[in-house]
Amino acid sequence: MSDKYAVIGKSHIRVDGHAKVTGSAKYTFDIVLPNMLYGKILRSPHPHAKILKIDTSQAEKMIGVKAIVTGKDTLGHKNGPWRRFPELCDEEILCREKVRYIGDAVAAVAAVDEDTAEAALDLIDVEYEPLPAVFDPLEAMKEGAPQLHEHAERNINVTRRIEWGDVNVAFEKCDTILEEQFHTSSQAHLCMETHGAVADFGYDGKLTVWTSTQSNYYIQVLLAGMLGMREGDVRVIKPPSGGGFGSKFELDSAQFCASLLSQKLRRPVKVILTREEEFTATKRKTPMYYYVKMGAKKDGTLLAKEVRVVTEGGAYTAMGSTALYLTGFYSCMPYKWPNYRYDGYRVYTNTAPTSALRGFGAPQAYFAGESMMDMLAAKMKMDPIEIRRKNAVTPNYEVPAQAYIQSCGLGECYDAIEKYMKERGKLPLNRGMGIGNYAFMSGGIFNWFNTPYAFSAVIVKINIDGKVDLFTGACDTGQGSDTTLAIICAEELGVHLEDIRVHADDTDLGPADLGSWGSRETLMNGNAVKMAAADAKRQLLEFAYAKMKPNVVYDLDIKDHKIYMIDRPERFVSYFDIVQDAIRGKQGQTIIGRGHYTPHRKGMVSPAWGFGVQAVEVEVDSETGKVKLIEIVTAHDCGQVINPVGVLGQVEGATMLAAGGAFCEDQPMDNGKILNPSIGDYKVLRSLDMPKTIGIEVDTYEPEGPFGAKEAGEGLTSPTAGAMANAVYNAVGVRIKDLPITPEKVLKALKEKKK
């Protein structure tokens, strides 16, 4: 990457960096308002029960308790992000008649301090009538199983079919066919800042909520709906956020209960979920039963793939319906299947609801898919990279009726990983390397939320001193979107990163944006930023043309605070002078640029695709079954890299999260009760477990993205579990098809292999 760009492609200190390393960044967790109360939530101990009676009288008498709310204090509306489909909005948040999982909320208390609120919960008397419960989706689908929701017979929540070609006919023509079953486990997001909100409902009837969220727009609209308010009377402010990973773009119990209590009391109320609540009463990754059959011709050409998935939905829909669809889509990627069929079933169970977790259904699909590719290659005696390369999607490929791929650096990624593996050479005993590859969306095209607004919109304002205000609804939850957007703005306007002030935290100030999910901010909000900055620049350049009076065949641009003639860069005027001229020339108005982005005619899923190939090296202790991660190398195509240090952070962070899910993270249950709801018991990768990581960026240009950029955040969780399973197989010859790959499973498989 040459000096094509002045700001893009160079590593920058993040715009929120100094606040974060000095401890001055104020999170939701840190906010204290005058006259503020503290809220706590009472949750169901039953996986399935009727609520017969809730008696709050004793708790209300307690000194320091100011208010208690139950389902009776709500409008009885049901919440859900899939607003286009009312039957999928199925969560009351404060249950009125029935609880459906251990952790469902039934009441909330506001008191002078947390201890008092906590003590008051013990005095609330809830009379339940326990109902038969069902925990496994395969059981829940059977006739006669306990039914969670009246509208959902056999607990079928959502079904999805994706199909092209004719798999039945195609399987007849295959020389090799493989048929397998896999199972993927649950995983907790484990945001270091738990879900929380401070709600302040004023006597003017307006509500302000500070909350750690991935989409302040969603929370604004969903809260307004649940409370029967106009959207504009709800203001949502997102302070710096201690992580999201897919868990924080739905309305949650902290936000709703804090708002309801504040509405009742007209005092600020703060609700921060405990770590135990975070494990048991927020959403989690979707476990899946995964059946797959695939076939190929003798030469390795893939012909047909059939997938059937049953997902453990938990008690409510949440974002799980999107995960169900995306698992179906990603199960065909990144290969050119001429015949493909997916049938997905999302099934209600009496367990904590399952939803999006960084990857949004993709990691499950790729675990099974990439394991299968290695098994197929072995069966056909082909090289695992070769069979992938032979069938991989290429630039300008159309996935039938689903997606259009423009830029695609997958081929270069294979080359890079192949070169790396060759250099690594033969591995010692009990060591193995496995690969996995993936494609991932740069934001979703679907509009289940039914927003009437553009998917992203931005306002750029230039002030008299040349400082630029960037107003956006994008939500930085730590991934660095504020910095990425500021870099794009600075590049387009020809100013420095320090000139940009990002205002991305407040629904009162910024235009609506769908938020941070599906790896969408760089491409979607980035396009809106670029358009708004270009609009502002055009207004400045009018004054520069007037001043410089170039021959009409010349045009102008801005770089490094210089407005220059593109073909004669030695002729320039100062950006700062022209800003002053322009504002004076506009009778004192600041310069305002507007931009927006909504994908059109880009298929069903996403306007652009990121790609990657990953090699995972492991060492397996054949005595204990313990797997040690040795090294993880990722060749990665995210289009034009905007901020290299940021992209590397995404590569390494996503790898760690995915490796944790593949390696040790799980949420075992007993009759719907999560058995490890504490950080002491829930095992994650720590610094000693984390292997060496290498990221190799492959250079492509995405025509749909700002300056050629596309996704770089979420997709990277996709290849790791499959690559790790393949590595374990290559190390000791056992195939684990059930995540996570624990020592017990490896040891059991080794023993069975010996027999």
């Binding site: 100094h18 390393v21 999170y27 770590r275 991934q479 760690m656």
Partner: protein
């Protein structure tokens, strides 16, 4: 019944009256307003609330405030000096050793206490030093690179 507590935090002596069951982290955050120190769990297992107490990295949720009577405490707010960032803070910025930032105070204080004791560590020792601190964003390796940069003297003041 509240009891008297005297301690020094970031060089500033304090005299307070606290309930015997108050945790050090609660005093730091609620009484002194030093909210840079966060909390991430109720089981002393995430490391987010780490502060430096008498030169040792300590989880401030795992000790009572009264146990810190007479102690010298350094929090993330005390790392910068005279308007200048500590070398570790500079390295964290340059190496992108934070994302959401919620674990960062604990990472910095763990790293500082360790490097003050062990100025020339191996990589394994550095990993051990922050093994009690969970970071859910970075994958740790950028934090190790930042620590290595400080060890290598990249951030030493030129005289």
């Amino acid at each position: 019944m509240k009891k008297e507590l005297r301690l020094t935090v970031n060089g500033q002596p304090y005299e307070l009256y606290v309930k015997p069951n108050t945790l050090l982290v609660e005093v730091l955050r609620n009484d002194l307003g030093l909210t840079g120190t966060k909390r991430g769990c109720e089981s002393s297992s995430c490391g987010i609330c780490t502060v430096i107490l008498n030169r040792m990295a300590v989880k401030s949720c795992s000790i009572l405030a009264l146990q810190a009577d007479g102690a010298e405490v350094v929090t993330v707010e005390g790392l910068a000096n005279g308007g200048k960032l500590h070398p570790l803070q500079k390295a964290f910025l340059d190496y992108g050793a934070y994302q959401c930032g919620f674990c960062t105070a604990g990472m910095l204080t763990s790293a500082k206490a360790f490097l003050d004791e062990t100025p020339k560590p191996t990589e394994e020792q550095m990993r051990e030093a922050i093994d009690g601190n969970i970071c859910r964003c970075t994958g740790y390796n950028s934090i190790i690179r930042a620590m290595r940069a400080v060890v290598n003297g990249e951030y030493e003041e030129t005289k």
